[in-house]
Amino acid sequence: MDKTNQSGNSVEFPSKKGQSVSRRNLLKTGSAVVAGTAIGSNAITGFPTIWAQNIKNVTLRQFGTGVSNINEIAKRAKQDLGITLQMTALDTDSTAQRVVTQPRSFDIADIEYFTLKKVWGSGNMQPMDIRKLKYYDQIVGTFKNGKLTPSSKIAQGTAPHTVSFVENPTDRKFAKGQTNWYTMVPTIYNADTLGIRPDLIKRPISSWTELLNPEFRGKASILNIASIGIMDAAMVCEAMGEVQYGDKGNMTQAEIDKTMAIFTEAKQAGQFRAFWKTFDESVNLMASGEVVIQSMWSPAITKVRSMGIPCVYQPLKEGYRSWGGGLGLSRNLAGLELDAAYEYINWYLSGWVGGLLMRQGYYSAAPATSKLYMSEDEWGFWFEGKAAKNDIVNPFGQKMEPAGAKRDGGSFYERMGKVECWNSVMDENRYMVRKWNEFIAS
């Protein structure tokens, strides 16, 4: 790959040299031969592929959270497939509401797996036929049987594979094992942990318990989004040995009470400097030094670091809390639009989008295809956990890391292999939300 691709400007300046290299690589990966040539050649010429001829005037309406609703993706889809994508960015809570209450307002839902668990029962989405998914073989095991590698243990919470299959296209209940009907194609996921300011803490941090360590009184923070915050809280309480959970992703009322009691006590003792709700708030708290340890998202860490402030996404011995999202289809999609949606999803997994997401610090569901759209150095840094040879630049041209830096937590297998729990929706959700609200107000 040449420079234009590294700096992420490939949208405006597709490079012939770069594309031909990627096509050759694509040809090498046996399972993707047909699609590889099709997409590769179409990227070079800018003309739609043969079967894509009739879908080029189709418009697909997609909504999702901000992370993957990026305009670059719509632009590139237009260029490669001719499909027009209308993107709407919503917050996580609103995405659930949209699926349930306005099923005719979208064609493609870009939602998280725990949201999918909540909304699938509404019958407003349809599963995908695995035979039509060209890159299904490339999708990592986490989204099929829950195991990243054959020896991995299955994490608690709403693990994606538990809500990924149905027996029949019209089923409203999820299937136990793998079937031919895939509820959602995974696109983006990551492993979350605590962010710290090593320059202000000045000692190693290795456990979730440190969030409530009195040493950091008035300098800690947790995110105020109930379904995610409760998981971080549970990771802390379990690490402290204060609460034993049957399943952190599906707590009983007693477990919720105990967890919230511990956190309420800490709050009243002045442990927390603030609670944050948006990405920018978490960045500001950390960058200004108001907070030295807090729940945080990966791109927020990079944002703080890009300001020249030391900040580490600290791997902890108890493991990560993970989240994942994917693309699902509206029940109302049919005919040409449905074909276009399959075409779009196949294109999504074919590598370019994966590269775009991976170069921001997320993971792609089909890493092998994304590799073709990343430089060796980028792949080494983001995926393999190797030291960067050159400066690492994100797809939008901003410098993320200097040469020599290593990704916190190491390689993909080290990070995703240590997932302890997935973001989830509990049976006691309503009770949990009420208790969380009381915790915030207390």
């Binding site: 917050d91 400097r273 030094g289 108001e290 009381e438």
Partner: protein
């Protein structure tokens, strides 16, 4: 008696009734109706249940939050009055020419040319742990450790409220003061009253409507606020508004609506109490 043409009457009354109906009655009626609905994780279920009110009124958090909100309200009211009254007094009685009164009054309004949120956020870097004020204190040798209570605290919340709302106190008080007949003051001084007596016997009683209107502004604004408490309290402090906003962001519309109805009743009671102290209709 003159008979009015009913068509003309209806035409004259309908604009205001349409505006009030559409933007006041309909929304409040909607909130009232929704407050009795049931809900699931992501849906409103039309129903008639009391659980939303029961959950709200039976939770100790509600009372704690109301207590907190009253605390912010009283402190803010006290400080805005403490600052607002002398400012109006100065503008009205010490500044002699109308031109300077207008100029100085406009200067008071300059902060209002920027948005509420911006004025509030600008306090954050000033008051932060490594902020301007703390750095200044440390470099002057006044303290060794930065003062933590300055930001994300009750202090910060009340400070921001006072900064935001003092003008709402100044304007109505200034307005009442300007309407005091100067000859009354002269008569009092001729009759031997000293400055203090003039203030307490004439100026303050005649300013009561202004004080009452200013107080109503400040009290209703603070009681309904959520963003100041959230930003300046760092999400750690709660007011009734914050509680509702939390519920709304979790799609719990019926409990939020019930909360809103309770707040509306409380604020109406407060305002009616203030109206009792001053008979606004008579004074205006």
């Amino acid at each position: 008696m003159k008979r009015y043409n009913p068509i003309v009457l209806i035409a004259q009354v309908s604009p205001i009734s349409a505006i009030l109906g559409l933007f006041l009655i309909v929304p409040i009626a909607t909130i009232l109706i929704v407050s009795f609905w049931d809900y699931s994780e992501f849906m409103l279920l039309p129903d008639f249940v009391w659980t939303n009110y029961y959950d709200t009124l039976s939770s100790f958090v509600t009372y704690k939050t109301y207590l907190n909100t009253f605390k912010y309200t009283i402190l803010t009211w006290f400080f805005t009055l403490l600052i607002g009254f002398p400012v109006s007094y100065f503008l009205c009685f010490h500044v002699r020419t109308l031109r300077w009164q207008i100029v100085l009054f406009l200067i008071c309004t300059i902060p209002f040319w920027t948005s509420n949120i911006i004025r509030m956020i600008s306090w954050i870097p000033f008051l932060g742990r490594n902020g301007v004020f703390n750095s200044m204190l440390i470099s002057l040798g006044l303290t060794n450790e930065p003062l933590e209570f300055l930001l994300f605290s009750d202090f910060a919340i009340v400070l921001a409220f006072v900064h935001l709302y003092t003008l709402f106190m100044v304007v109505p008080i200034f307005n009442s003061m300007m309407r005091i007949d100067r000859s009354v003051l002269e008569a009092a001084i001729d009759a031997g009253a000293n400055g203090w007596q003039v203030l307490t016997n004439i100026v303050i009683p005649l300013c009561k409507p202004g004080i009452a209107i200013g107080s109503i502004f400040v009290v209703t604004l603070v009681m309904g606020d959520y963003i100041t408490v959230r930003m300046m309290g760092g999400g750690l402090r709660a007011s009734v508004g914050v509680m509702m906003w939390n519920e709304i962001s979790l799609l719990l519309y019926p409990p939020a609506a019930a909360n809103a109805v309770v707040l509306l009743v409380v604020v109406l009671i407060l305002v009616s109490l203030m109206m009792r102290v001053v008979d606004l209709k008579k004074e205006l």
